[in-house]
Symmetry: C2
Subunit: 479 residues, 2 copies
Amino acid sequence: MIGQDIIDRFRVILGDKGVITDASDIAPWLTDWRGRFHGHAAAILQPDSTEQVARTVALAAKIGVPLVPQGGNTSMVGGATPPPDGSALILSLRRMNRIRSLRAEDNLAICEAGVILANLHDAADQAGRRFPLSLGAKGSATIGGLISTNAGGTQVLRHGTMRALVDGVEAVLPDGGIFDGLDALKKDNRGYDVRQLLIGAEGTLGIITAASLRLVPAIAARAVGWAGVQSPADALALLRHAEAHLGNSVEGFEVIADDGLGHVLSHIPGTRCPIQTRTPWHVLIEVDHDSDRRPGPVERLESALADALEQGIIMDAAIAANEAQAEAFWRIRESLSEAERAQGPALQYDVSVPVARMPAFMTDAAAAAQRAFPGTTASSFGHLGDGNVHFHVRAPVGTTDGPAWIAAQGPAINAFVHDAVVAAGGSISAEHGIGQMKRAELGRLSSPARLTALRAIKAAFDPHGIMNPDKLIPRPDEG
Amino acid sequence: MIGQDIIDRFRVILGDKGVITDASDIAPWLTDWRGRFHGHAAAILQPDSTEQVARTVALAAKIGVPLVPQGGNTSMVGGATPPPDGSALILSLRRMNRIRSLRAEDNLAICEAGVILANLHDAADQAGRRFPLSLGAKGSATIGGLISTNAGGTQVLRHGTMRALVDGVEAVLPDGGIFDGLDALKKDNRGYDVRQLLIGAEGTLGIITAASLRLVPAIAARAVGWAGVQSPADALALLRHAEAHLGNSVEGFEVIADDGLGHVLSHIPGTRCPIQTRTPWHVLIEVDHDSDRRPGPVERLESALADALEQGIIMDAAIAANEAQAEAFWRIRESLSEAERAQGPALQYDVSVPVARMPAFMTDAAAAAQRAFPGTTASSFGHLGDGNVHFHVRAPVGTTDGPAWIAAQGPAINAFVHDAVVAAGGSISAEHGIGQMKRAELGRLSSPARLTALRAIKAAFDPHGIMNPDKLIPRPDEG
């Protein structure tokens, strides 16, 4: 455990407000929000400015104290949890929560790392714009964490992941130097794009302190529809059909297996299937217009779905008649994880494969998992258009001790699913990152050239290993 | 100069067809296409496959022979010219010219590094798609070079630079390992994005051997218009107006100063100004539709320009009545560099600043340059919507010895213009890269943190300095 004398040296830089040492204040930040990873830290450092971050990191580098950067602590992979031995301090960016500027005419917001996503949404709304990335944790997740994990969500099809929305980055590198890359230049070919390295680096290469973020026009009108289809292949055919008819106004396209829908209808009060026919697969589709051009999104979506019905791509369809129905359609999608948890224990995977291979993956990998692990049921839902689904393998019916089942079967099922993903040319982490949870699997499943590159970059930026230790980079014994 | 014994070791890997040693065959590749940089090399190595590239690089690493990768040799900054002392060999990717696959339904082409851009355009056209990046050198420039320089062009406003169009990269790293990142995953958070590092690295971190490239729908209909405006600020107002009215169908938006237009009309036969009024500034605008939706692009552009005229944003406007007129409008833009050359000697800068600051930069920097260097005239033209213009400082009227003027005045004017760019928060290289030409200026004008990061990445990937030596990374005495 790091001693009081060392903490006092950080207090000189940060003042009393900038250093938390009370155990009860620290406790909530020592465990990830799903309660899977537990760590210890003698203090949370809370700088208030980029200058303070720079001085904090420079001191940490000088005396060899590792830092674990933390925003909203909403990592899905234990990426913000300190090591259990108390060898590191937490560096919280939450006090750096200023929106430095928001210029509607330039479609640009400059935010500090600790700005909470929902607060940026509100500020953009007030300026007649929007920031088109959202996810369940928006009330806690911070801009710094979202950039450091290259976050996704349900709007990636149209607007891309965080990487596509970041026009500039300010960061403190592991030697305490300030990388000033905030200027939002659309073209800049001055050598290696260091910003791109910091995006998705999970705080292992430096601390993102601020970012220039791209805004888009507010939504003027939207249409939300539901379609029943025979298979994931038909769902993909519907996506291509929708893109051809509706261009890039398709903002949401989520695929749901009928068993997942069934769990929602069973466990989530007040939900009902939007269509009469019970079909093997379902698609939720949203079309947005930024302007009031005619025909509006409802008419255009109606026409596209009618065509799809006529061509036999879909079996049934419905369009939300009003905003309340649109919300009800989306509530089904957003309740899937909760319904799955109510249904029983399951292992969940956040994986991607090339879009064209996704339909086959969804059906074949589920069937193969069920054969390999008798009694389990497997299915998937999510962002088909991004080639990213959340793949679930559920414990056999009647399993009462979920943690025991996961402990016994988890490693074999993990390896099975990840092997299937790699065989399909995919990624074992589509949007959640690596953190602690997937580090060993990344080591096992990466090519030597990829591992060499990851380790070389880490060693080049952080030779003393003080930035978010034990995250992302596989240990020597892990591949 | 590298000896025959060493070249013979590469011949074992590449065969006779893969090694060029005839001086007259080598000569054209020792000088950049503008004739500014001259080098020497005892051989050109021409591998035919990724496997051959890997073995070639592994041998070069083993025996410490630097390699200069080359595609179409169209660098604007001496980025593909070998060192003058003959200490390196040229590695040409031109034999790797296969389009491995092109799937219209997936909007994806997998191309080897040596595919010439115009050939990809043709192949995409035949499949009913297009690859939306083009530039003057398209008949020579190769995919590998375009990725390694993160090329731009006139379609960046809508489709982004090369970075936005590359969905996957295969490369040989400096130790000979093959980085297999070809799978086009829309979401992939497996640690640092090595592909992003290779894009724009100018061959200093490895050899790109193939790439997955994004295709877009073919253009169904286009409208090309010309508007006269009072100032760059009004040109930007017109862009914002057009974006509000025409959404993302604005594919081209080029700004031209009236003096530049004058040079075209004087020196390029058959050109005429598209509008009656002679205005201080001009805008070329293209609107494209991917589908046949109504109203078509001509009607929509007419309506947007009529509105702009009414609001006083523009002074005059014309829309091309047919495809021949559309070509004539574009010919003016594409003849600007040739007309400038005919007009007399000039120094040319490829710079970017944040879009919002570009109007002030265009007028203020030109005025300041003219004051600082009496007798010169300065103006700019180019991609206002990308914050990227080509800024020219012309020698005083009557200057007959251009090279002598450049030798005498070049360094001071370079420093003056680059300082103005940095003061405006911009980049001294918007789309041409650094190469040899801007290396010292990059060193002079970069923050210590940026230089440290560039050098650390280079050293991590290429510890023996065998990849494209003396390019991009400032030397120790250069900042």
